[in-house]
Symmetry: C2
Subunit: 84 residues, 2 copies
């Protein structure tokens, strides 16, 4: 069962990383919405807590990485957004 | 426990919908990567199966909506991508 979870975790997490990389390289945050990023970040923290409560290694693994990625996007948006 | 899951589900799902709406309105799919979208879509299907195996109403709810959203993005990419 955890194999399905881990495959899902790797696919959705890996799909998210190019966005972080692209934003970091281009510093273009114009098309990103801060409320949306904050909502997503808080939502991921919720999934992380839920993963602990459900004793789900896949969810804890995936949501830890995604929480870091989305935190970076929030940080980039605030940092680079000033120049736009 | 399901309350945390549902709040997380609503936040992350709601954060995803503006992207679908924006793509639908602008028909601009140039910054979207097809392999990334397909990877994400398959990953979400994996989470959906995992949600059923874990008997998690929150995960089933969230991933059904996100699967539909990401399927739409794949469809838009293939349909509008031809004109670019």
């Amino acid at each position: 069962m955890e194999i399905i979870g881990f495959v899902a975790a790797i696919l959705t997490t890996a799909a998210f990383l190019p966005q972080v990389y692209k934003t970091w390289k281009t510093r273009d945050v114009s098309s990103l919405s801060l409320p949306m990023l904050l909502m997503f970040f808080v939502g991921i923290l919720g999934w992380l807590v839920y993963g602990f409560l459900k004793h789900s290694p896949s969810m804890i693994f995936a949501n830890t990485i995604t929480a870091l990625s989305s935190f970076l996007l929030v940080y980039f948006k605030i940092k680079y957004g000033k120049n736009n």
